[in-house]
């Protein structure tokens, strides 16, 4: 019996190892490619572990491709989207969780449907409208559409979180002479901090990764976000794999750091909003 258990355990560990390798390998390959010497990229057979390292690709993406401009754009758009999302989503989530207003269920379902809106059906008229409003090639013109992607999920995640807070807290604050608004600011808001934080992280990542709006609503190179800039690296005849790897690593590192630090929170946020009705 004990022997059987040990075999099962070893098989389990091997399973986990294979699983981890499958997940990690593409990412490993990206990093390894980015630090190779430009001459070694086209070596056949390729080196699974490089014989020499070089920062040439990183130099190239920052000096020749002006990657920093795009990183700054991405940071502004992602942080902007995150802040606007939370400011709009929190009061909405509070109302859905605590107040009984007419057609609440229908509106809540509408927001769920809004989460699925196909961007392709939105982006063409939006391009024409934004062009007339001079919002094409502006940060606002990127943040506004990103918010409608992050907003529905954020509201649902926050509802799930506020639902777990006891209502008595607000009641006792109100008995102590707080107005409703004061009660929210003094009890629900601080207690929601972990939920808000989780929602904000997920909104940031979603906005950082947004592709279609950013591809179509920006026509000026200096306003592009990192994902779009990288997708435009390939020339007509050649694909600069090394440069693209280095730029991808730069675009991914902030996200990976966020994931490493907040993995527990992200998981709870990702599953709570979707599983709970």
């Amino acid at each position: 019996m004990q022997k059987k258990n040990r075999i099962a355990k070893i098989l389990g560990i091997i399973g986990i190892a294979i699983f981890l390798v499958v997940i990690v390998f593409p990412f490993y390959w990206l990093i390894i490619t980015s630090v190779k010497d430009p001459a070694d990229i086209s070596l056949i057979p390729t080196e699974l572990w490089p014989s020499r390292f070089s920062g040439a690709f990183y130099e190239s993406v920052f000096v020749e491709h002006h990657l920093m401009t795009y990183v700054v754009n991405s940071v502004i758009v992602a942080v902007g989207t995150m802040i606007v999302t939370i400011v709009i989503a929190f009061p909405a989530a509070y109302a859905f969780s605590r107040i009984n207003f007419k057609f609440k269920k229908a509106v809540k379902n509408f927001i769920l449907v809004a989460n699925m809106f196909p961007i392709i059906a939105i982006v063409t008229p939006m391009f024409i409208i934004f062009k007339n409003m001079h919002l094409v090639n502006t940060y606002a013109g990127l943040i506004i559409p990103s918010v409608i992607i992050t907003l529905p999920m954020s509201i649902w995640t926050l509802i799930a979180f506020i639902d777990t807070l006891p209502y008595e807290l607000e009641e006792s604050a109100m008995i102590d002479g707080c107005s409703k608004i004061q009660a929210i600011f003094r009890t629900v808001l601080p207690l929601s901090a972990p939920g808000i934080f989780t929602t904000a992280i997920i909104a940031f990542i979603t906005a950082w990764n947004e592709f279609m709006f950013a591809l179509i609503l920006v026509t000026k190179d200096a306003m592009r976000t990192v994902p779009i800039a990288i997708s435009l690296f390939p020339g007509q005849y050649t694909v600069p794999w090394g440069d693209m790897s280095a730029a991808s690593v730069v675009a991914t590192i902030p996200i990976v750091i966020v994931v490493l630090i907040f993995q527990k929170k992200i998981v709870s946020g990702l599953t709570s909003g979707a599983v709970k009705g």
């Binding site: 593409p26 449907v113 059906a121």
Partner: protein, 298 residues
């Protein structure tokens, strides 16, 4: 008197409630619904950006053109193939991931982090990673397969229709299975431990336990995952854009990718909008099913 008071309370609740959700609602309607309505209206027009003066109402012409073209049925089939393939792969790997997370007590943090990374990085970067790995000359996939003698000569994965589809599916699977793993993992944890213990006492084997207890208990979550992934397959864009651009010869173009090509390749807003409208209808159907599923789950 009491009735009067409660009536006032409901009115106040309505006012307060709606003023709190107003910004969110307004944004979703103005930036979401209004453009979709405009797209639907474009779909009934001849509207080609290179021929702007000749825009006029054509009724259902765009839909007729679309449905009678071979290309439409081809990209529809591509979408179905993509959806089915990616769903099968993602569910299988997702399940394995969830079971591993469930059984591994020590490594759970490591696995969770590893699993979140594909979810968190931009789709276009994943597309690029996979197109480099599947590159015919420089790609590591060909070299690894040659090293273990599974293939004799390099395969040009991305210039052949079915292998290009496979590469796209694998890239999407790599990005999406973490989410599925996490959902299933969350579901696994809601199954009470004593159910398993009871089954063990009754002498049920591992396979029987899986099919009799684990799967039925996850029915709700699996249904949601299936719906999410169906919608995901309809909405996928950046991965196809980055790996194949819909090629070779439209073999990896999905409905949505073809709509993008009509809209921003051909600048044919009428035809592109008609296809976008069809996509919107498909998504709406899935959404309504989703809402129904959530309700019965309560």
């Amino acid at each position: 008197m009491k009735k009067f008071k409660s009536l006032r309370k409901t009115t106040r609740d309505n006012v307060v409630g709606y003023s709190m959700i107003l910004p969110a609602l307004l944004l979703l309607v103005v930036i979401g619904i209004v453009p979709i309505i405009i797209t639907v209206s474009y779909s009934f027009q001849y509207k080609v950006l290179t021929d702007p003066l000749d825009t006029h109402f054509v009724g259902l012409d765009n839909y007729v053109t679309l449905l009678s073209s071979e290309l439409f049925w081809e990209v529809l089939l591509n979408t179905v193939v993509f959806a089915v393939l990616s769903m099968v792969i993602e569910l299988v790997i997702g399940f394995i991931g969830a079971m591993l997370m469930n059984s591994a007590k020590k490594f759970v943090g490591v696995i969770r982090t590893a699993v979140l990374i594909p979810w968190a990085i931009p789709g276009i970067i994943i597309a690029y990673m996979f197109s480099f790995m599947f590159n015919d000359q420089l790609g590591v996939v060909n070299q690894l397969l040659q090293t273990v003698h599974l293939i004799d000569a390099p395969v040009s994965w991305l210039t052949n229709g079915s292998t290009a589809m496979l590469a796209v599916v694998l890239a999407d699977a790599w990005k999406q299975f973490p989410y599925i793993s996490l959902m299933i993992f969350a579901g696994l944890q809601t199954i009470p431990k004593d159910v398993y213990e009871a089954a063990q006492i009754d002498g049920a084997g591992k396979v029987a336990t899986f099919f009799r207890i684990t799967l039925p208990n996850l029915k709700g979550i699996l249904l949601i995952v299936l719906l999410f992934r169906t919608m995901g397959a309809i909405r996928i864009f950046d991965i196809i854009f980055g790996i194949t651009g819909g090629g070779p010869a439209n073999s990896t173009a999905t409905l949505l990718f073809q709509a993008y090509k009509y809209l921003f390749g051909d600048m044919n807003f009428g035809l592109g909008s008609a296809l976008s409208t069809i996509i919107t209808i498909l998504i709406l159907i899935c959404s309504f099913v989703y809402i129904k599923v959530l309700k019965t789950d309560d």
